[in-house]
């Protein structure tokens, strides 16, 4: 890149025109379609994986889903589950991939990129890492795409990646989530625990902002220096203790020690500069109260007042913060889990169906229509996030969405369940679908692409390529979806 690129904002100011609706000029892109800011620094690409812990239909209902558009190609229709995409005018910004499938073992051995027949949570490993699961109820067996992206394009951002979860609790008495709460992995079984507190996320992301008022700035400098001194002492305490522990305990405490080092690195990072795109968002205040457990999964006598921690508010707060963290280039890779796999979150406060999300799919009389209402809640928040990216203008005049890939993936599809040997089952990875928003790296958005049994990871690989990962493979799955670049 030789000549200095023309900033659209400078250009617009020069002609005194409005900034709305001006097309991106060719001169602001380099030969590879990469966007550059005024100072020649490339506009960062961003990658967001959002996850819903649901399948697409309901048991015994022959309607497979209300998620996949009837029409293929551009200007597709938006059925019930993805209605918010239409409502927010995002059809041109979002591509729908349908007809996806994770192959099952069908009683034999699991194929490459496939899953164990026992459904929960065997789809997570092939879906998120492309590595086959070899038993049910076990963690993901390979590095997940968000971590590959973080390692590749994270650069010197303050947060190499962010992992958040909206569902605040497991909500069941008799068990623990055992991996249903974990969707980001550095490698085989090496999970990254999600932050669940929006308030915590706010403090972590935005405490580094330099206030414009000099007095406030001086105070902030004082607090930052004292915070660094405190962390220095804390790290020292762990360091001194480590050699005194047994080997097994040392391994445990080393993980803690390393997390402190990472926190120190983040605190020492240069604070973000306030711009029109990047500014200190509103303080979210105290976290919503965490609700009690669900004594029942749904139906008659279901307690509609428990099993819910205002996840609606939590989802909105996380969306706002993810948007701003990326606008400020604090991170380039984010994982947002709306609901745990096999989610036992009470859906009544959200969609007035007295069941938890998991049970809507299995036994609510509302069938696939009820399930789609539950999915629609997820997609509503996802579309809100996408729209925030769309409405945010980069320094070169493009929108954040032009430089991003925002995915929505979920736990299952609808069809044959090789575990329970039943048709029209939620315990199926046939007829899966996913959403990809954004135009990073030349992604062709705004299409419904009906695949013929492509692996969901083919879609994920496409999005990884779009944000700059030069790979054709994730785990055991190879190849992209060519139409996404056509």
């Amino acid at each position: 890149m030789s000549a200095k690129k023309l900033s659209r904002r400078v250009f617009l100011t020069g002609v005194g025109g409005t900034m709305i609706g001006v097309p991106l000029l060719e001169t602001m892109l380099d030969d590879h379609g990469e966007a550059f800011a005024q100072d020649g620094e490339p506009i960062p690409k961003r990658y967001v994986v959002c996850f819903g812990g649901h399948s697409l239909g309901a048991d015994r209902d022959d309607v497979h889903n209300m998620f996949v558009p009837q029409t293929v190609g551009r200007n597709y229709d938006t059925p019930l589950a993805i209605e918010p995409i239409g409502e927010l005018g995002l059809v041109d910004d979002v591509s729908v991939l349908s007809g996806l499938e994770i192959p099952s073992a069908f009683g034999g051995s699991e194929p490459a990129g496939g899953r164990h027949d026992d459904f929960h949570i065997a789809s997570l490993s092939p879906l998120l890492s492309g590595v086959r699961s070899i038993t049910g109820g076990r963690p993901v067996r390979g590095i997940t795409s968000d971590q590959v992206v973080a390692q590749t394009i994270g650069g010197d951002t303050t947060f190499n990646s962010l992992v958040y979860r909206v569902q605040a609790s497991w909500y069941l008495d008799q068990s623990a989530p055992y991996g249903r709460d974990l969707i980001s992995y550095r490698g085989d079984g090496d999970a990254i625990e999600a932050t669940v507190s929006p308030r915590q996320a706010f403090m972590t992301l935005f405490s580094g902002f330099t206030p414009p008022n000099p007095v406030d700035a001086q105070r902030r400098d004082f607090l930052l220096r004292s915070r660094k001194s405190v962390l220095d002492l804390v790290r020292g305490s762990y360091q001194r203790l480590l050699p005194q522990l047994s080997a097994a305990d040392r391994i445990r405490l080393e993980a803690h020690f390393e997390a402190i080092q990472e926190l120190e690195r983040q605190v020492n990072a240069i604070s973000p500069m306030e711009t029109e795109l990047c500014y200190l968002p509103d303080d979210p205040g105290a976290d919503p109260t965490i609700g009690g457990n669900n004594p029942s999964a749904g139906g008659d006598g279901f307690d509609t007042t428990t099993g819910y921690s205002n996840e609606d508010e939590r989802a909105r707060l996380f969306s706002d913060m993810i948007h701003m963290a990326m606008a400020c280039d604090l991170t380039r890779s984010v994982t947002l889990q709306y609901t745990m796999a096999q989610s036992h979150m009470n859906m009544y406060p959200l969609i007035q169906i007295p069941y938890d999300l998991h049970e809507i799919g299995h036994s609510s009389p509302r069938g696939t229509e009820g399930m789609s209402q539950g999915i629609r809640w997820h997609i509503g928040h996802w579309a809100y996030l996408v729209n925030k990216f769309k409405e945010s203008q980069e320094v070169n005049g493009s929108s954040m969405l032009d430089n991003s890939a925002i995915l929505y993936v979920n736990e299952g599809g609808h069809g044959y369940d090789p575990g329970g040997m039943a048709d029209n089952s939620t315990h199926s990875t046939e007829r899966m679908a996913m959403l990809i928003a954004g135009r990073a790296g030349g992604l062709a958005s705004g299409q419904h692409i009906a695949t013929n049994g492509a692996h969901p990871v083919n879609g994920i690989i496409s999005a990884m390529q779009a944000v700059g990962v030069e790979t054709d493979t994730l785990g055991e799955v190879t190849g992209n979806i060519p139409e996404l670049f056509g």
Binding site: A176, T195, R227
Partner: protein, 547 residues
């Protein structure tokens, strides 16, 4: 300590009852007892019944309790901000704890905010700091504060060298012209340190037993306080350590007896029961659920603390503490006081804690009671048996209620599982247990027909293979007590909670001894707690072997 033969009995149950104990060699028995002057503890190289353990950290509940006792901070902020503990069945098992970035950032935020709150109210602040500074740079006062507060927060005495490490923080007080700015930074630091966050146990090496360590008196005090109170030691207990008066089992027992008088012990044991039976997070927002929680808490309080009855009565007690609304809900006679009073169950078929809405609410599925889940709950939690997951080569969908071509009745539908190839062996051990409670729905209400199927009569007959037939919660409780099936599991669950881990083969002598003592005490729960903490093995730890 007497050696007693292994008491683990598989109760004659076949498939699904897996021995989880592994074999290990006999420990060497060579060196003589000696007194370790430095830590003033007896070290017995022949100690038996010490299972492997690892570094445990504060549960969310413990974190909030410690902030309450250390800083008079009642916000219970940890339970909102710290990552959720796995509760299976207890929240303090080190094997389920994960040190993560999410944990570390949460600890930092919590520490920073708790430190600021602690300095807000002058009276509270002065109580925490303990001296009045002559100015922002008062080194002597700062040093005294670091030493006295630090010994509580980090749960060990601080050396001069330890105290020196914090002294540079005083410069921030000078710069800010506020002594308490520096004091807050000390609190902010200590609340993130390993001595605060983790239960650090190093101990004294045991001669000839390289894997074994005798805990110091201070470490015993910490373990004792967190078991009985879910919190840090109080001044009396810390003074006992300082005076070297926590080196013998008798001294530990005496302290524990004192501690059991404290309301913190009641709260801790109510929580133990709630986690054990699975109702720890029953929604207390609705009046009926709140009344159910009070019902169970009242029974535990009465049996364990107020009247110190034979603990087995918890499972068959013929009275229950309910308010007017809950009496109507259950279809029981109204209490003398509408706000709550003891009501006689008479011949209602109810009796003991298994009749409570709390317990009955736990193991439901498919919008109804689940005989399988209830059977599993009783087999696993109440009888400490291992119920295997369905074998991987079996085609099952555990998220689907069973169906029958011939009948919509639940008993007939579940009977199809028993007939399905490969399923009956396990389900035959589980489902008949749950069917004995079928007349009680997941809200604790009595019923005689299936939900929405009035022609499907529920007979309420159940069987626990190896124990016998029963009908309803009272007979279940009585049967489990009479056959002796329950007692070893009670001991084991208390032991798990006390040690913050699952039991292992190496704990067998300790468990056997406790079972015998429990019987000898005529099943007094408070005596069991005292026996656990004054048992020799309580003061030892065996480190894990790494590959």
């Amino acid at each position: 300590m007497r050696r007693i033969a292994v008491l683990f009995v598989c109760l004659g149950l076949l498939a699904g009852c897996k021995g989880e104990l592994s074999n290990s060699g006999t420990p060497p028995s060579t060196a003589k007892n000696y007194n370790n002057q430095q830590n003033n503890v007896e070290v017995n190289p022949d100690v038996l019944g010490v299972g492997q353990t690892g570094l445990r950290r504060l549960s969310r509940e413990e974190y909030d309790n410690v902030l309450r006792d250390l800083l008079q901070d009642t916000t219970r902020s940890g339970s909102i901000t710290l990552p959720e503990d796995a509760i299976d069945p207890f929240d303090n098992n080190y094997e389920t704890q994960r040190a993560s970035g999410a944990l570390v950032v949460a600890l930092e935020t919590l520490a920073t905010e708790a430190a600021l709150r602690a300095m807000e109210d002058p009276a509270r602040r002065d109580a925490i700091v303990g001296c009045t500074p002559s100015g922002p740079g008062d080194e002597a006062c700062f040093r005294e504060f670091v030493r006295s507060f630090g010994s509580k927060a980090l749960r060990r005495s601080l050396t001069d060298e330890d105290v020196d490490r914090y002294m540079p923080l005083l410069a921030f007080g000078v710069e800010d012209n506020n002594f308490y700015t520096a004091a807050a930074l000390v609190i902010q630091t200590m609340l993130q340190e390993p001595g605060f966050v983790y239960h650090i146990e190093k101990g004294v090496p045991v001669d000839g037993r390289p894997e074994l360590y005798r805990l110091t008196q201070n470490e015993v005090a910490n373990k004792l306080a967190f078991f009985l109170w879910g919190s840090m030691p109080d001044d009396t207990l810390r003074q006992a350590v300082e005076d070297g008066e926590l080196g013998t089992a008798e001294q530990v027992r005496a302290q524990a007896e004192r501690m059991l008088q404290d309301s913190r012990a009641q709260e801790r044991m109510l929580r133990f029961h709630a986690m054990w039976f699975g109702y720890h997070r029953l929604n207390s927002e609705t009046p009926i659920s709140a009344a159910m929680l009070e019902e169970s808490n009242a029974l535990v309080r009465r049996v364990v603390f107020e009247e110190k009855r034979n603990y087995m009565e918890l499972f068959s007690f013929n009275e229950t503490f309910i308010n007017a609304e809950l009496a109507t809900h259950y279809g029981l006679p109204q209490p003398a006081d509408p706000a709550g009073a003891w009501v006689d169950y008479a011949d209602s078929g109810r009796g003991g804690i298994f009749s409570h809405g709390t317990f009955l609410s736990v193991a439901s599925k498919f919008g109804d009671t689940s005989p399988t889940q209830r059977g599993k709950l009783i087999r696993e939690r109440i009888l400490c048996q291992v119920v295997d997951l369905p074998p991987p080569d079996l085609n099952v969908n555990v998220d689907e209620p069973p169906t029958s071509e011939d009948s919509n009745c639940k008993k007939d539908r579940y009977a199809t599982i028993l007939e399905a190839p490969g399923c009956g062996a396990c389900h035959g051990q589980i489902d008949p247990v749950g069917f004995g409670l079928e007349q009680y729905d997941q809200n604790g209400q009595f019923r005689t027909t299936d939900v929405g199927e009035p022609e499907c009569v529920i007979d309420g007959n159940g069987t626990i293979p190896g124990v016998g037939d029963f009908n309803g919660p009272k007979q279940l409780g009585e049967g489990l007590v009479q056959t002796g099936a329950l007692q070893p599991c009670i001991v084991r669950q208390v032991y798990r909670f006390a040690h913050g881990r699952d039991t292992t083969f190496d704990d067998r002598e300790s468990l056997a001894e406790l079972s015998e003592q429990f019987a000898a005490s005529e099943y007094k729960f408070d005596q069991l707690l005292l026996d656990v903490v004054s048992q020799e093995a309580f003061a030892y730890r065996q480190v894990e072997v790494t590959q």
